[in-house]
Symmetry: C2
Subunit: 528 residues, 2 copies
C-alpha cells in the first residue's frame, strides 16, 4: 500500500497513532472463548455489583486493549490456519460442504458465537436458509451467519463518492461502524482509488465485506453505462474476488421486459445498479449480460465462496411504488437465479426494499420466501414513509424492525443523510445504532435465546439506580452518559436515586422500591 495513503489514514481525527479509533468500549473488555482451538470474540460488560454480561462482538481486534494493530500490515489472517475441506463437485463453498454433511470451522465458529448447535448451522446452510459469507481470500474475517434462525444482522454502507471523502475516512468508517455493531460492511465507493480503498478496507476488516462490482466496472468505462460489457464486468468481479470480497450485489434480475413496468412509477428506478442495467438494455436492445452470463458468474463465485446478494434493481423508491408489478416481476426472476446459483453450490441471499408502508411489509417476506426457496432476505429498511428526509434512519428503523420480525435475516442500515448527502462519521454511528435497535427488537420478538438477557440486565440496573451499569449495558454508553450528565454532572448523581427528568420527590422507581419493601413486610405479616 502506498505511503501517501498511509499518511492520509494517520490523519484521522480522534484516532491516535494507529490511524483509526481503537481501545475497549466504555465499561467493557474484550475476551475470547476457546472452542476446540477456535477463538470466539466476546465483549464482556463489567457491572458495579460484581456481575457481568457477555455480548456478541463485531468489533474485531480494535477493541482489544492487548491487540497489536498495524493498518499497513492488516489484521492477522486467522482463518488461514483453519481446516479447509476438499471441494465438492468443484465448489469449495460452505453450501457445498454443508450439503455433504461437513461441519466446517466457520460453522463451528458461528455456532459458538451465537450459542447454537453447529449441526443447526450446517443444516440451515445446507437448506439455503442461511449463508456464511467468507471468501477464502479474506482470511482476516471473523465468520458470521445470516439466516432467519439466527440473530438478525445489520450492514453498514460506507464508501466515498465522486464528490467527497478520502480513503482514510473510509477505513475509519469501517472500524467505527463495526465498533458500534455492524455485522457486515459494504464498500460502495464510486470515486477514484476504488481498488486501493477496497484493499485497505478488506485487509483491515474483521467482518465480511460486500461490494457492488458494477460500480467499479462503470468507473472503468468513464461512467457511460452503455459502454459496459460482460468481459469487463467479469474481470472486475475476479479482481474483487482476489481481494477477498465476501459477498457481491448483482442486479441480474433486471430484465429487459421489466423496464416498461417502471414507466408509470412515481420514482422510476432508484437502485443505481438497476438504473445502469436498464440503461444498458435499452441502448443495446438486448437482454442484460448479467442474466445471460449468470452461470459463468456462478462458476467464479464458487471458486472463492463468494455469496450472491441478488440485487433488487427495481425496488420501490417511494410509498406509491411499493409492491408493484415491476418489483415482484424482478423478485420472480431472482427466484430463478437462486436455483441456478445453488445448483453451482453458491450461497445466495436476496435483497429487498426500500420504501414500503407498514401494511405491505409482510407480503414482501412471504413472497420472497415462496419464490426464492427461503434464501436469507436482506432489506434496505424499508422506510415506512417518504416524508422525513433527515430522519430516514427512524422512518426505516420502523420498517426494518417489522420486516425482521417477519423473517428478514439482515438489515441494511439507512443514515440520517439518506436522500440528502454522503454520511459522515456521526451519521454512520447514528445509522448503526438505529439498526441495532431494529435488529434487537426483532430478536426479542422472535425469541432469540440470548436477546432478553441484555434488556433484563439493563432494566435491573435502572431500577437499582446503578447509573454507570445502565450506561455501559446500553448500545451507546458514551451518549447515554453524556445526556445524563448534561443536567446532573456531579459524580454522586451516578448513584443518586433519581434523575433530572422527575427530580428526587417524584421518582417513581424510588417510591416503588419503598412500596416493595413495605409490601414485603405486609405480605410476610399476612396483613390484608
Amino acid at each position: 500500500m502506498s505511503t501517501s495513503v498511509n499518511s492520509a489514514v494517520s490523519a484521522c481525527p480522534e484516532s491516535g497513532d494507529l490511524g483509526v479509533t481503537h481501545g475497549p468500549i466504555e465499561g467493557s473488555t474484550k475476551r475470547y472463548l476457546d472452542r476446540d482451538g477456535l477463538r470466539i470474540p466476546q465483549r464482556r460488560v463489567h457491572l458495579t455489583n460484581g456481575e457481568h454480561l457477555d455480548l456478541y462482538d463485531t468489533s474485531g481486534p480494535y477493541t482489544d486493549a492487548d491487540a497489536d494493530l498495524d493498518l499497513e500490515r492488516g489484521l492477522p489472517p486467522t482463518r488461514a490456519n483453519w481446516r479447509r475441506p476438499e471441494p465438492v463437485d468443484g465448489a469449495a463453498t460452505q453450501l457445498a460442504w454443508a450439503r455433504a454433511g461437513v461441519i466446517t470451522d466457520e460453522m463451528r465458529f458461528v455456532a459458538a458465537r451465537e450459542g447454537y448447535d453447529a449441526e443447526l448451522v450446517r443444516s440451515e446452510v445446507a437448506a439455503g436458509r442461511a449463508v456464511i459469507p467468507a471468501n477464502r481470500c479474506h482470511p482476516e474475517s471473523e465468520p458470521m451467519i445470516i439466516g432467519k434462525a439466527f440473530a438478525v444482522k445489520i450492514n453498514a454502507n460506507i464508501g466515498n463518492s465522486a464528490v467527497t471523502s478520502s480513503i482514510a475516512e473510509e477505513v475509519e468508517k469501517m472500524v467505527w461502524a463495526t465498533r458500534w455493531g455492524a455485522d457486515t460492511i459494504m464498500d460502495l465507493s464510486t470515486g477514484k482509488d476504488i481498488h486501493l480503498t477496497r484493499e485497505w478496507i478488506v485487509r483491515n476488516s474483521p467482518v465480511p465485506v460486500g461490494t457492488v462490482p458494477i460500480y467499479q466496472a462503470l468507473e472503468k468505462v468513464g461512467g457511460d453505462p452503455t459502454a459496459l460489457t460482460w468481459e469487463l464486468y467479469r474481470d472486475t468481479v475476479i479482481e474483487q474476488a482476489e481481494q477477498g470480497v465476501d459477498y457481491m450485489t448483482v442486479h441480474a434480475g433486471v430484465l429487459r421486459a421489466h423496464i416498461p413496468l417502471t414507466a408509470q412509477r412515481v420514482t422510476g428506478i432508484v437502485s443505481r445498479g438497476g438504473a445502469i442495467m436498464a440503461a444498458w438494455c435499452m441502448e443495446h436492445r438486448t437482454e442484460s449480460f448479467l442474466y445471460t452470463h449468470f452461470a459463468e458468474l456462478c462458476e467464479i463465485f464458487a471458486r472463492y465462496d463468494i455469496t450472491f446478494s441478488l440485487g433488487d434493481g427495481l425496488r420501490p423508491g417511494s410509498i406509491a411504488d411499493a409492491n408493484d408489478a415491476a418489483q415482484f416481476a424482478e423478485l420472480r426472476t431472482l427466484g430463478e437465479l437462486t436455483a441456478i446459483a445453488k445448483s453451482h453450490g453458491v450461497q445466495v441471499m436476496i435483497e429487498g426494499p426500500g420504501h414500503v408502508p407498514m401494511h405491505k411489509i409482510t407480503e414482501n417476506v412471504r413472497l420472497e420466501e415462496e419464490l426464492c426457496e427461503e434464501a436469507p432476505f436482506y432489506t434496505l429498511g424499508p422506510l415506512a414513509t417518504d416524508i422525513a428526509p433527515a430522519y430516514d434512519h427512524i422512518t426505516s428503523a420502523i420498517g426494518a424492525a417489522m420486516i425482521a420480525q417477519a423473517g428478514t435475516a439482515m438489515l441494511c442500515y439507512v443514515t440520517p443523510k439518506e436522500h440528502l448527502g454522503l454520511p459522515n462519521r456521526d451519521d454512520v454511528k447514528t445509522g448503526v445504532i438505529a439498526y441495532k435497535i431494529a435488529a434487537h427488537a426483532a430478536d426479542l420478538a422472535k425469541g432469540h435465546p440470548r436477546a432478553q438477557q441484555r434488556d433484563d440486565a439493563l432494566s435491573r440496573a435502572r431500577f437499582e439506580f446503578r447509573w454507570t451499569d445502565q450506561f455501559n449495558l446500553s448500545l451507546d454508553p458514551d451518549t447515554a452518559r453524556e445526556f445524563h450528565d448534561e443536567t446532573l454532572p456531579a459524580e454522586p448523581a451516578k448513584t443518586a436515586h433519581f434523575c433530572s427528568m422527575c427530580g428526587p420527590k417524584f421518582c417513581s422507581m424510588r417510591i416503588s422500591a419503598d412500596v416493595r419493601k413495605a409490601a414485603t413486610v405486609d405480605l410476610t405479616l399476612g396483613a390484608p
Copy 2:
C-alpha cells in the same frame, strides 16, 4: 400575570421580541378555510412548479405572519363566540351532545380539519370511540379529535422539574412542540410556580392541554404521598379545571389489591402517579381515594367537559414486565371506570404502555378495546427494547407506529433524554418529529384518505430534483436543507440532477429519467 414572568419569557433564545418562536415554517404560509363561519387553520406548502399542498396544522397563530401576538394577553378566545348547546342531564360535554344527536361547532371544526363528515365525528364521539378534549375554560384552543377513525395524534410532554428549567422555557417548549406538529401538550411541571406556569401555557396554547393533577397535589403536601387527601386532590382538580385544562390523567385504576402483583417485577411501578397512589394505599391500608371518589370526580369533569385520560399507573417499565398480571388487572379496572365516566356524560381515553416487545403489542390494543368499550387508546411509545437509552425516541417510535397501526388513537412522545434527564428544546423537536413519523406511518397503513398525498408530493419532487420542494414538504425543512447543504451548499445544487450521496455519474434517478424518456419513445414506436 406578573411582569417578572414576562421578562423571563422575553429572555427566550431565538424568539425575537415576542418571547417565543414565531413566523411561518420554511416554504409555507398559514391560511384559513371558511366553513360556515368557522376558520379552519391550514398550512399551505408552496411548490416551485406552481402547485401547492395543504396540510393539517397544529401550530396556531404563531406561524401566521399576520397574527397579532402577545403572550401576556394570551391567544384570542376563538371558541368563546361559538354556539353552546344546553346541558344534557347536567352534562355540558361533547359526549352528551353527541349522544343527543347535536353536532356542535367543535365537531364541525374537527370534521373540516380532517376532511371527514361531521356526522361521522358525532357518531364516533357518541359511541365513545373518539374524544374532543375541549374544556369550556380554554376558549383559545383549536378543537381536535382523538379516535381510531381519524388521523393518529401525538402528544408532547413539557414541564419543569424541581431540578431544572423555567416558566419561559416551558412556554417556548409548548410553542415549539406545536410548531413541529404536537396535537396536544401535557404540562407535567413538578417544581415551584406550578400554577403560574400552567396559566401561561394554557392562555397561549392553541392545542388541548393535559395535566396530571396529583403532581400539584403532591407539591401542596411537601412531597409526601402519604399526606395526600381526597379533599386536597379535588380542590387541585377544580383549580386546574378553572384554568382550562382539557384532559387530566387520573390513576384511579391502581387498586390496593394490585400492588402485590408488582412485587416480582424487574422494574416495579414506573408511573409516578401509580407509585404515589400505591404508596398512599400501603400507608393507609385502604382503597385509593381516586377510586372511591371517582363518581364525584366525574361530576366535576362533566361541568367543564374535561376528558379523562385514565392513567396506567402499573404500566410495564421494562420488556420483562410487559403484559403481566398487574398491567392487565389495572386495565380491567379502567374498563369499569370508563363505564362510570360515560354514564356521567364524561369523555374518556385510556393510557397504555410503556415497554412492550413487538410480538406483545397487538394484544394491548385488543384487550383495551374489549375491556374499555373501544375508548381511544393513548400510549407512551411503547419502547420495543430497553437497551438504548439516549435513543428511546427511536426504540419507542417503532412500538408507537405498530400500536397505532393496530388502533391506538394518540401517541405520547418520548425524547432522546427519556430515562436520563429533562428534555431541552432540541430534544422536544426530535421527539415530536419521531412521533410525527410514527403517526404518519400508521395513517398510511390505515389508509387515512389524505395521508399519502404528502408522500406522493415529496417523492415526485425528489424524482424531479426539485430539492427545495423536497425540503419544504418534509417534516423538518430546516434540517433536511442543512444536511443537504453540508456537502453541496451552492445554490445551483438545489436544482442539480444529483446529490453528494452518489455524485453525478451514479444518480439512479437521473439515469432512470433518461430510461423513461427512451422507453416512452420505444413504446411509442412499438419497438420490442
